[in-house]
């Protein structure tokens, strides 16, 4: 349900307080940012776009944390398995 696509704010459109030009891989569309009024969006911010509206500001720190978690799983792969088995016993 609900196709949401990450896009980068490239310009706040002066002629309309609720509009921002957003880029998705170089594809541009004006997006209504009225639902994110409290977020003080700036060019360079990433937002989640759904039916022409920005629903959420994307948190890069959280994205990195998520990827770090996955990378961590891979790095510690071998001994992680043993650790998991050990944690099962306790």
């Amino acid at each position: 349900m609900c196709l949401g696509i990450p896009g980068e704010v490239i310009e706040l459109m002066a002629e309309h307080e609720d509009l921002a030009m957003v880029s998705v891989e170089g594809v541009k569309r004006a997006v209504n940012i009225g639902l994110l009024r409290d977020e003080d969006l700036e060019p360079g911010d990433w937002i989640l776009i759904h039916v022409g509206f920005a629903l959420s500001k994307i948190d890069e720190g959280e994205a990195k944390a998520s990827l770090d978690f996955l990378t961590g799983l891979g790095d510690a792969y071998t001994d992680e398995l043993q650790a998991l088995a050990a944690s099962d016993i306790t």
């Binding site: 609900c2 196709l3 696509i5 998705v24 891989e25 594809v27 541009k28 759904h50």
Partner: protein, 407 residues
Amino acid sequence: MTQKIGHNMPTRANWAEEAVAAAAAEEAQLAHAETQHPRTGSEHLTREEQVLARIAKARARKARIKEERITLAHGAGGKATQTLIEAVFLDAFRNPVLEKLEDGAQLAPMWTNGTAAGRLAFTTDSYVVSPLFFPGGDIGDLAVNGTVNDLAMCGARPLFLSCGFILEEGFPVADLQRIVASMAAAADAAGVQIVTGDTKVVERGKADGLYINTAGVGVLEREVVLSAAAARPGDVVLVSGPIGDHGITVMLARGELDIFADIVSDTAPLHEISARLLDVAGDGVRLLRDATRGGVATICNEVATAAQVAVVLDEASLPVRPVVNGASELLGIDPLYVACEGRLVAVVAPDRADAALAALRAHPLGEGAAAIGTIKDDPPGLVLLRTAFGGTRIVDLLVGDPLPRIC
């Protein structure tokens, strides 16, 4: 302001009840036939496989139009178009040449004294694009290149084109002149002459500016016979460049989506690049198709069905420009189904694949050419995609146009 509407609303979906009843009857008939002539082997199938076999049977049924009226889906190049062609046109006009349903007819006319008059390819196509002018081309370029390409995909050297114009009352003459100039330039570039034509004018509101029909004749000078049915296991699937540029360009140029991207149509004549390909790969080339309506996915499905093979595509190898990808993500559509007007798909024998790919890449129109998949023997009739993520899925025919989705 309130008003009463919609009297006589049904409380049951009759079309659905009928479909259920019809399928049940058919199933009963099949089951009966099965008990009369039991086949061996089927008892080893799992329940899921039995269901899949049942579906394969249902899909192989004779095409039948269920709609009372033509909808836009019938023109989109997917399942609905195939059904229309098979159930209405093929049924009425059936003959061995038409039955092949290739991009053009391959003819071997005879003189009255019984000697062969050479082999010809003959094709026709109508152009109804909106808007008429778009980045990278206009309806005139399409009308020439499209027909030239259909001939080239038969392995023919395109020679002569006809053109028919249906003009709407009020259409600006300057626009017509611009379009005709594009056609002249495109014909020149493709080495064809427009040798006959026709013009009709319809009342305002009865056509969307103008429609163009072109037909084309070319000579088949090579021995090679190209056909979707010729693909065999081990063959390699090639595409001559990035896919989806034309479809996305036109979709954005309509302006309704308010989406902007730096992208132009790929419309181009493919007669040269296809000739180069045939020069180096010769009878190793099984078939050529230009990936127009329905995109690469639809061509692969035609191959899978006609040759009863599996087409296995590799998502990571598919050439797609970032902007086409971006627009597709935004709209929720799949570039595999988006039209191109200057890209060909070739299925080539494995021992010629490298040479064929090199020949494509050596031509300016084929710089982005890539090997995108292989032909396997099983499961027949299916197009499979090895996803970039490392999974597998089917690439089926679409029912109609790829529609932007929100969900």
